[in-house]
């Protein structure tokens, strides 16, 4: 019950904010009868109305995971974000092995298995992408490779 209400409320607020920022769109001298504002404003209004439906007529509550699983999911997101930043400066192999290993451990908590999975995925994917698909991946950080 309440998840739908909360989501509906948040979505309605976002939609309203969207409408407000859409009114700020600058029009240029190349004007057409509709202009660049009308369509986004319309979407925002329809979105806000449908979101209010959720607030007043929510569906049954979905099964949310327990708090510990949420922590695990949050950690997974953090790891992925770190991976996004690490990919360029640190090269492909090291970050991929670590991140793949962590994800593997999170799905099935066996440390050795996860470590092997991470390492072999990193090497295997690197070989496939570099040599079979011809992608210009950098294996190691520049300061290491010299």
């Amino acid at each position: 019950m309440s998840s739908d209400r909360i989501f509906g409320l948040v979505a309605a607020l976002v939609a309203l904010a969207y409408v407000v920022s859409a009114t700020q769109i600058q029009t240029s001298f190349l004007a057409d009868p509709v202009g660049p504002k009308v369509f986004p404003i319309g979407i925002g209004i329809i979105g806000a109305i449908s979101a209010m439906f959720l607030v007043f007529r929510p569906d049954p509550e979905p099964q949310w995971p327990v708090a510990r699983t949420f922590l695990a999911l949050g950690f997974a997101v953090l790891v992925l974000v770190a991976y996004a930043y690490a990919l360029k400066p640190l090269g492909f192999l090291l970050p991929t092995a670590i991140v793949a290993g962590i994800l593997s451990y999170q799905i099935s908590p066996r440390a050795r298995f996860a470590a092997i999975t991470g390492a072999s995925l990193a090497i295997g994917l690197f070989l496939i992408f570099r040599f079979a698909l011809g992608l210009g991946l950098v294996a190691f950080p520049r300061w290491l490779a010299g």
Binding site: A15, D32, V34, I43, G47, D59, G101, S108
Partner: protein
């Protein structure tokens, strides 16, 4: 005969060794993607799209590869349905109802081969239907002006929202999320940035591939972390396999009927393969009556959903190719592929680039034969693939998604955006909000707004122009009916949750 000339053109392209190899590779990859729980047609095709660019394939080759993957995934979904009682992808859900009981009764091999054959019948008939119907529809599509296109896009959102979701408001929110995201970036007509919040990365807009991979592939990883990849060990042993000729012969009419039902369901915008297999199973069940024994592992219960599902997969290509409006989640992903290849689907595609269309149709026919050969004698290979544990598979999928998106733009910003879409996809699916309308909105939002604005330029701002031709009035009525009618058919159309195709 126009058709024969076109077909021979198609086969002259499809039978070149290079295209043939791509089709075979696509079928193989597709069957694996379909068979593995956690990888379905839509996310499988999505993570492969960036890779086709790195391979530098031309339009026809890329399309042949991806549609083979698409057809293959539809075949492969049945394998885990039958052996694990877990649908390998959404459309294969109905196959679990009779396939798993049949496998438990010691007839796993029979069920796999029968369903493989049913898939072949459904897919082949649907490809022939596509061949006959698409050129006709393409001719009708010439009558479409901007007003009609606007109504058509609306129809796609309405029927998709109406049928693919259990709650209309949620489908509408999903469509608005997608359309709203599509507005971000520089406006085509006026050249002014819109809703970018001053972020330079957003001036080009949000790349739909980033959104698709995030919503479909990255979100899946979060689900597996939540469930710790349980329920994925093989419970059924596969003994000797031989061809159950008698079952195939006895289910011939079931296969034909289900193919027709599935094909029609597939053509409807927004309905897709899940609805095709659902309707095919339900109609066969009511034809057979109580003594048909549906749900206890009968041959007809295995053949019907598989024929329906594969026929719908072919049917869904019809509106996608002729009108540029996808009929399902996976065809939406295929549309994304076409758009990135700079091919505009629609009637002009049939006139200007016949080699793309007919090469595609011919390779679909070939792919079907290849898939039948792969899925009947080689079914054991794919059963082996099912033993890959999710703790290897899902990290692999994530890494491939990251590399694929990274190779498109080389910017960490797109990767962050992709993670954001992954979180969004997780939350939406938890709340039973369909994600396919989000994709459709991002894909079609720009075109939809363009159609509206061009219509208004023609009519000089007169809103009634949108309802000025019989075609557009018909589309508006169909759109409203498609959105409202399912509300009254809830009891009749009690659908399984989480339709992603």
């Amino acid at each position: 005969m126009d058709l024969l000339a076109n077909l021979s053109l198609g086969f002259s392209i499809a039978l070149s060794p290079y295209t043939l190899i791509l089709a075979i590779v696509g079928c193989f990859l597709g069957t694996i993607i379909g068979a593995l729980p956690g990888l379905g047609p839509s996310n499988g095709v999505a993570i492969l799209i960036p890779l086709t660019f790195t391979l530098g394939l031309d339009a026809t080759s890329a399309l042949v590869l991806m549609t083979s993957v698409y057809y293959g995934a539809m075949y492969g979904g049945r394998i885990s349905s039958i052996l694990l009682n877990i649908p390998g992808d959404e459309p294969a859900l109905m196959t679990t109802l009779d396939g798993y009981p049949m496998a438990k009764a010691g007839r796993a091999g029979d069920a796999l081969i029968l369903s493989g054959f049913a898939s072949f019948v459904g897919a082949t008939l649907a490809t022939i239907g596509l061949m006959l119907l698409a050129p006709l529809l393409a001719r009708v599509a010439y009558l479409f002006g901007p007003a009609e296109y606007f109504a058509l896009y609306l129809l796609a959102f309405c029927t998709l929202g109406g049928m693919a979701s259990n709650n209309q408001a949620k489908a509408a929110i999903a469509s608005c999320i997608g359309l709203g995201i599509a507005m971000i970036g520089v406006d085509n007509t006026s050249g002014m940035p819109r809703l970018t919040g001053g972020n330079l990365h957003l001036y080009d807009g949000v790349d739909f591939l980033v959104a698709i991979v995030g919503l479909f592939a990255v979100a899946e990883v979060f689900f597996f972390i939540e469930s710790h990849g349980k329920n994925s060990s093989i419970g059924i042993k596969l003994e000797k396999t031989r061809v159950p000729w008698r079952d195939i012969y006895e289910t011939r009419w079931t296969m034909l009927r289900s193919s027709v039902v599935g094909f029609v369901a597939g053509i409807l915008p927004g309905a897709g393969a899940s609805l095709g297999s659902f309707l095919a199973y339900m109609s066969e069940k009511s034809i057979a009556g109580a003594k048909g024994g549906f749900g206890t592992g009968v041959a007809r219960g295995v053949a019907a959903p598989e024929a329906g599902n594969n026929a719908a997969a072919g049917g869904a290509l019809v509106p996608m190719l002729t009108l540029g409006v996808p009929g399902s989640g996976t065809t939406a992903v295929l549309l994304a592929l076409l758009m990135t290849l700079n091919i505009t689907p629609g009637p002009t595609l049939f006139a200007d680039r016949p080699e793309v269309i007919w090469g595609l149709i011919a390779s679909l026919l070939i792919a079907n034969v290849v898939l039948l050969l792969m899925n009947v004698p080689m079914v054991k290979v794919f059963v082996r693939v099912l033993q890959v544990p999710p703790a290897i598979l899902l990290p692999g999928v994530t890494m491939i998604s990251f590399i694929g998106i990274y190779s498109l733009s080389g910017s960490y910003f797109d990767l962050l955006l992709m993670i954001g879409f992954g979180i969004l996809g997780y939350v939406l699916r938890k709340l039973d909000i369909p994600t396919v309308p989000v994709i459709l909105g991002i894909l079609l939002g720009g075109n939809m707004e363009d159609a509206l604005r061009r219509a208004m330029v023609i009519a000089d701002g007169d809103g009634w122009y949108l309802f000025s031709t019989p075609i557009s009035i018909g589309l508006w009525i169909a759109a409203i009916a498609g959105f409202i009618a399912p509300m009254f058919m809830r009891g009749l159309l009690q659908k399984p949750q989480r339709v992603t195709d």
